[in-house]
């Protein structure tokens, strides 16, 4: 075993009671310090560990006003979900922290082989045989869709996302307790259970009047921290990174403990005001430049200055994370961040920096929020904005570039609500309420 691997495994073993390790340790996490920071920065009322139930519409329906309200909901959700599992520990006060959403139920722990009953909420997950020693976090998906390497068809133009070090980006999907309970209580984790249920799924909705949370799902994209990456700018975890076996070259499946940094995060929230869900998407600020704007950063996670590689081009097949000398994906953001959103990003990044100038959370930005403007107008509810994409999760469907201009294609370019409106169950010809997770039931 290589020395670095040994120490990584050793580190994980001695902190077996913790789900993951912090990437940076830059300060004192005492409550006194929290109080000091709150008093000094005045951030107590703005940065809260309390997850909003639903959006709060504050004013008229002017585009900028309502966009701000939904973006605020997104940021509040991001802050609450990224808050430490210990509410008294201010987010980012130690630079990085464990997060609430990472304690949620992972999709691979819900939809098991042969439709077996999943373990109850709060029970540790199950791992592939090669990962039995992982003793913590597991990243098993090498694509946004779980069967990227094996399915002959995909729901949209997709492919692996390869970072500047030639390594595959990893993905995971987790759900909150409300969403898990609905799946569990209605036996929707299995093909047969869905058949017996035989009605459209209707997940619980978050509601301000009732002070109740609804179903929430989080999709995360992670990159392996390597050459050129500044780990102090990422929310990091030590995770068991699973790689399936390949035949050419013949390499067995593997599970290697690696430090990975968060690069993308979707938050899907079902609420009373938005039965088509509210879709919030965040990215690491150094992922990629925006098309037709100056690439002014020294380092990007998914973009190399001066490269003549085609932008947002899916890697050539066969896709195999075991292959050596992978060609990095050259990514540009095709759907620019709205100025209203950008202003709110600056505001929240400033607040996070005020807590601790080394907070990793200041290096994340809201790319956008999509919601149904007229929920009853149609099944899709007239989504706004029409197109929204995350450079790490919808890399290849952001739009197309023609004659130096970006063109979005209806029904093809990335729209959370339009895509998820087509989600069905696997065990019954019934609607899955805007989640493709139920399609995984066996």
């Amino acid at each position: 075993m290589r020395k670095s691997n040994f120490w990584a495994l050793f580190s994980v073993t001695i902190v077996a009671s913790f789900v993951f390790l912090r990437c940076t340790e830059t300060g004192d996490s005492s409550l006194d310090k929290v109080d000091d920071v709150e008093a000094d920065s005045g951030v107590k009322s703005d940065l809260s560990p309390v997850l909003p139930f639903d959006v709060t519409i504050t004013g008229d329906k002017l585009e900028t006003t309502i966009l701000h309200d939904f973006d605020l909901f997104s940021w509040q959700s991001f802050i609450a979900l990224s808050w430490s599992t210990d509410d008294s520990e201010m987010i980012g006060i130690n630079g990085d922290n464990s997060t609430k959403w990472e304690t949620w139920k992972n999709a691979y722990d819900i939809f098991l082989e042969n439709g077996e009953t999943p373990q109850p909420w709060g029970t540790p997950g199950q791992y592939p045989s090669s990962c039995t020693d992982s003793n913590g976090r597991l990243l098993i998906q090498v694509g946004k869709t779980p069967d990227l390497l094996t399915a002959s068809e995909q729901p949209f133009k997709t492919g692996p996302l390869i970072d500047q070090n030639g390594l595959y980006t990893r993905f995971e999907i987790v759900v909150n307790q409300e969403m898990f309970n609905y799946i569990y209580n209605n036996d929707l984790y299995s093909f047969d259970g869905q058949g017996a249920f035989n009605q459209n799924a209707e997940f619980p909705s978050g509601d301000n009047a009732d002070s109740t949370w609804g179903a929430i799902m989080v999709k995360a994209a992670w990159k392996v921290i390597g050459d050129g990456d500044d780990a102090s700018k990422f929310h990091c975890v030590e995770a068991a990174v699973y790689t399936p076996a390949s035949t050419n070259p013949a390499i067995p499946e593997s599970c290697v403990i690696q430090k990975v940094g968060l690069v993308g995060l979707h938050i899907g929230t079902k609420t009373t005001t938005s039965p088509q869900w509210i879709w919030s998407t965040f990215e690491h600020v150094d992922n990629a430049p925006t098309f037709n704007e100056t690439a002014d950063k020294a380092h990007y996670n998914y973009y190399k200055k001066g490269s003549d590689r085609e932008i947002n081009a899916s890697p050539e097949q066969p896709w195999d994370p075991n292959r050596a000398n992978q060609i990095p994906t050259q990514v540009e953001r095709l759907i620019p961040i709205d100025p209203v959103t950008a202003a709110l990003n600056k505001e929240f990044q400033g607040k996070l920096r005020a807590v601790n100038e080394k907070s990793v959370w200041q290096y994340y930005e809201l790319v956008g929020t999509q919601w149904p403007v007229d929920p009853t107008q149609s099944d899709e509810g007239n989504p706004f904005p029409v197109y929204l994409g995350n450079a790490t999760l919808e890399t290849y469907i952001q739009g197309i570039v023609q004659d130096g201009k970006v063109t979005e294609v209806p029904g093809v370019s990335s729209s959370c609500i339009h895509c998820h409106n087509g989600a069905m169950m696997s065990g019954a010809a019934k609607q899955a309420d805007f989640t493709y997770l139920l399609k995984r039931a066996k």
Binding site: E63, N382, P383, V386, M424, A429
Partner: protein
């Protein structure tokens, strides 16, 4: 012609209210798309003539006044019909010739009023849920 006048004129020509053609929170911005197309394609003189004729109509909700002021006038009738076709089909027809035109854009096509008017959707694009074709169509 201003965008505001174009929307008011379009409401009179299509029968759809201005609030539908250009909603307060406009997700699609089809009115801007068709307005830009009109400015680009219609000559300045026909455009100015139509603009003046419409603004001279005392009550733009009165169908008879619209008929007399625009459709009975050979100098404004053709462009008015082109605008109606553009709103309903997303196609700009040159010189009122149904064989000669171009699709303004995919956005204009899928947002053409014809689809909603006949409770249908454009080929290849639907905002209904999977399996809707197995259910009776909505007529509201």
């Amino acid at each position: 012609m201003t965008l505001e006048t174009f929307v008011a004129l379009s409401a009179s020509l299509t029968g759809y209210p201005a609030s539908k053609l250009k909603p307060e929170l406009d997700t699609q911005k089809v009115a801007e798309l068709f307005y830009d197309t009109l400015i680009e394609q219609a000559g300045p003189k026909p455009l100015a003539t139509l603009n003046d004729a419409f603004l001279a109509i005392a009550d733009p909700t009165d169908h008879e006044l619209i008929k007399i002021g625009i459709f009975d006038n050979p100098e404004t009738m053709t462009l008015a019909k082109i605008i109606i076709r553009m709103w309903y089909t997303g196609v700009w027809y040159y010189c009122n010739d149904p064989q000669d035109g171009f699709v303004v854009s995919s956005k204009g096509y899928i947002n053409g009023l014809v689809w909603g008017t006949m409770f249908a959707h454009p080929m290849g694009y639907s905002v209904s849920h999977f399996g809707y074709w197995n259910e009776a169509p909505s007529t509201t």
